[in-house]
């Protein structure tokens, strides 16, 4: 997603928000609530989780506004906070409920070629795979950045991406037999 606020406007709003101007803080919130929620939906298990991520992200933004010095885009900074919050929740949940890593659904009926739309196919991917696909293909994160965010290795990120695309190919029913 392109940054919705020009850098000069973002700097001005952040300066005012840091000084306690809540109308400026609200403008920042309104500019990014939808992209943050969309990212959170793609990385979270449920809409409720995504809403929590949205809220936690902006609470963190409020606390850490001084850390953004205007050197990079404001969206890039907020997006990394959101991704980190979403993946932190995901990691925490993994500690409570075991879920196999990687190619974990091989024995289900998921390898059967299907004709799904992309939205349904994406939703059907295991969470980690979906997160890697979204962060890499849509948000433009490198495998190194994804590995850091997820606390995994670069090769894990690459293999998750390849497996996810293999699944999408089957589920979307659009692959060419090779």
């Amino acid at each position: 997603m392109a940054d919705t606020l020009p850098i000069a406007e973002a700097k001005s709003l952040v300066t005012r928000a840091r000084a306690g101007d809540y109308s400026a803080l609200e403008q920042v919130f309104r500019a990014y609530e939808r992209p943050v929620y969309t990212l959170a939906r793609r990385l979270s298990k449920s809409p409720d989780d995504a809403e929590d991520v949205l809220q936690e992200t902006f609470l963190e933004v409020c606390r850490s506004l001084k850390q953004w010095r205007g050197e990079g885009s404001l969206w890039g900074w907020i997006r990394t906070i959101a991704a980190s919050k979403a993946l932190m929740r995901y990691r925490r949940e993994k500690l409570r409920a075991w879920e196999p890593l990687g190619d974990d659904v091989a024995h289900r009926a998921e390898d059967v070629p299907l004709q799904m739309d992309l939205e349904a196919a994406l939703a059907r991917l295991p969470e980690r795979s979906r997160a890697v696909v979204w962060l890499h293909d849509v948000e433009g994160y490198t495998h190194e950045e994804i590995a850091e965010l997820m606390g995994m290795t670069t090769s894990f990120s690459k293999s998750q991406l390849a497996r996810a695309h293999e699944r999408l190919r089957r589920w979307l029913g659009a692959g060419v037999e090779r």
């Binding site: 997603m1 001005s12 300066t15 005012r16 840091r18 000084a19 306690g20 101007d21 809540y22 109308s23 400026a24 803080l25 609200e26 919130f29 309104r30 609530e33 939808r34 992209p35 929620y37 969309t38 939906r41 809409p47 995504a50 809403e51 949205l54 809220q55 902006f58 609470l59 409020c62 606390r63 992309l118 939205e119 994406l122 696909v133 979204w134 293909d137 849509v138 690459k158 293999s159 991406l161 390849a162 497996r163 695309h165 293999e166 999408l168 190919r169 979307l172 659009a174 692959g175 060419v176 037999e177 090779r178």
Partner: protein, 196 residues
């Protein structure tokens, strides 16, 4: 077609992302099936980017606003309670250092500067700065003053300095009072009540 195998998913994704090997590039150039798969991967990426965004089901701004206000209040309270705690430390330090019963001039200067700072802090809080809208220029001035205030508070939290250089500490309290006075001026003259 080079080498008697097709490119793997990893190799095609790397090519799509501009990082593919020379072999993979050469292979795809001569293999219709792999070229088609590469094109499909590019299309999937474009389609993913084109998926619609989601609107949050509820407005969480009121929650964020409440938390931001509470956080700002906490920071102010902790600044002031930090100052009180530090004052207790300095009183103890002077009691230890001082042999004569009469107060030293530095004690008087310090107490005066602290009282001035406390008065300014009260005046500043009474203006409810978190309910005021600022112009961009005024906000810049406020942010700068608050940064300086944070630096002074950090210096005042150094209890070793209180014992080793009380004259400097008295100067820091005077500086703090001056910064708060400047903040009061900015908020009184350049801000308007935002009604938030």
């Amino acid at each position: 077609m080079s080498e008697s195998r097709h490119a793997t998913g990893d190799e095609l994704l790397a090519l799509r992302d501009g990082e593919g090997s020379g072999w993979a590039r050469d292979h795809v150039a001569g293999c219709a099936a792999c070229a088609a798969e590469l094109q499909r991967l590019e299309q999937v990426r474009s389609q993913l980017k084109a998926l619609p965004s989601f609107a949050p089901p509820r407005d969480v701004w009121p929650v964020v606003l409440r938390a931001a206000r509470a956080d700002r209040r906490r920071r102010r309270v902790s600044l002031w309670s930090g100052a009180v705690a530090t004052a207790a430390v300095v009183a103890l330090a002077f009691a230890v250092m001082r042999h004569a019963p009469a107060p030293e001039p530095v004690d008087v200067a310090l107490q005066k500067a602290m009282a001035e700072s406390a008065a300014m802090e009260q005046m500043f809080e009474s203006l409810h700065p978190d309910r005021r809208a600022l112009s961009g220029q005024a906000a810049g001035v406020v942010a700068d003053l608050e940064d300086q205030l944070a630096q002074v508070d950090a210096a005042l939290n150094d209890t070793v300095a209180w014992r080793s250089n009380p004259v400097r500490v008295a100067g820091l309290w005077k500086q703090r009072a001056g910064l708060l006075s400047a903040l009061v001026d900015v908020h009184e003259t350049r801000a308007s009540v935002a009604g938030l």
